[in-house]
Symmetry: none
Subunit: 221 residues, 2 copies
Amino acid sequence: MTSPCILIIEDDLDIANVLKMDLTDAGFEVEHADSAMNGLIKAREEHPALILLDLGLPDFDGGDVVQRLRKNSAVPIIVLTARDTVDEKVRLLGLGADDYLIKPFHPDELLARVKVQLRQRTTESLSMGDLTLDPQKRLVTYKAEELRLSPKEFDILALLIRQPGRVYSRQEIGQEIWQGRLPEGSNVVDVHMANLRAKLRDLDGYGLLRTVRGVGYALRG
Amino acid sequence: MTSPCILIIEDDLDIANVLKMDLTDAGFEVEHADSAMNGLIKAREEHPALILLDLGLPDFDGGDVVQRLRKNSAVPIIVLTARDTVDEKVRLLGLGADDYLIKPFHPDELLARVKVQLRQRTTESLSMGDLTLDPQKRLVTYKAEELRLSPKEFDILALLIRQPGRVYSRQEIGQEIWQGRLPEGSNVVDVHMANLRAKLRDLDGYGLLRTVRGVGYALRG
DNA sequence: CGCTGGCTTCAAACCCTCTTCAGACAACGT
DNA sequence: ACGTTGTCTGAAGAGGGTTTGAAGCCAGCG
């Protein structure tokens, strides 16, 4: 895995560049989009680990952008704006933003809040019952036994274990693992799921992988 | 499952009571601790879904409290304080706090941020009496027993439980579940309703699904 | 009291989705 | 170049959900 990628959606190039420098200095990969439209497109293509969204973009309302981003994924969104009103904060946070920073802000605070968001997502229990998954070592164990998984199988399991019990649609999985570049009528996801389930079954993990007909797959939580 | 419990750690009783009122009004369970010591104890005992931590407690440094809380669990922690300095924010967020609110803050903003934290962690489930429905996990339980529903049955129940007691017409249901793509004289809705009712009856949920002659169906509220 | 219209139940056919399998292809190390 | 391992594709198959129509039921009403 490469270092996490952060997408900045900001029409003011000066601000964008400052942000970019701060973040790259802190060791992040950074992508930049100069309009809401481009931001939405890049969000689909690059699958950033986090999005910094400037409000007051010329082409779209900030709330709309948040909602559209939320439709397709659960990426953390931090809103940046000069508008310091309670109503606006409540509105944006309610629509799906994860944090709200008021310009001008100190780079260190931005950095701290970015890290909080990333920490919240990655720390989310990578173990579940007898199943443990170490993203660093790319190692999975079930009841202290090591489980040999192929790369794709590992990625899929890593996705599911983030929220045990939660159902992930084929589309979500395709989006996350294959970056949405899957042919239309493909059943690749199904096949990998079947393989994964077979390996889990070998180690007595029978009902672990639940398939929800018409919807997707989930880990039994 | 009861509604999520929020622990307030705050030595000023006036502030604590105001917070408590705001939160209970919003439908949360609230616990209160008047010192860091009591806060740590209550956090262990009550297993709150979220902690509001006032800085400037007499007995401990706020950073210490955050660290100690973090040792034992991953509960979201929102720090409340009058100190508005970047260093302090960065320090607390770095130690494990999830958000940082500066007094005086508007209750609505607090509420919005609380909801953001809970949204990220918990999957909010809809419930009505002994019936619970989790849209994320697509699981339904009645009196702690799991209910196996077909996709359509689940969708219908999910619709009805949104407003228990309210009567939904066949047309509304057809619109919501089938996007209005149902043939004219079809009685599909009726059939699924009957199936659903049968499954509820198997688990002693007798009068749960009410049919209002000439109008439609509703959950007994 | 029987008619009528709407609700409910049942069973059978359909059809879609998921599962499984086998084979081709690509990527990698030897 | 060879073998191994992982990935993708297509097809066959089973199982289960969905739909349909018909028959049974009940309430309201003349």
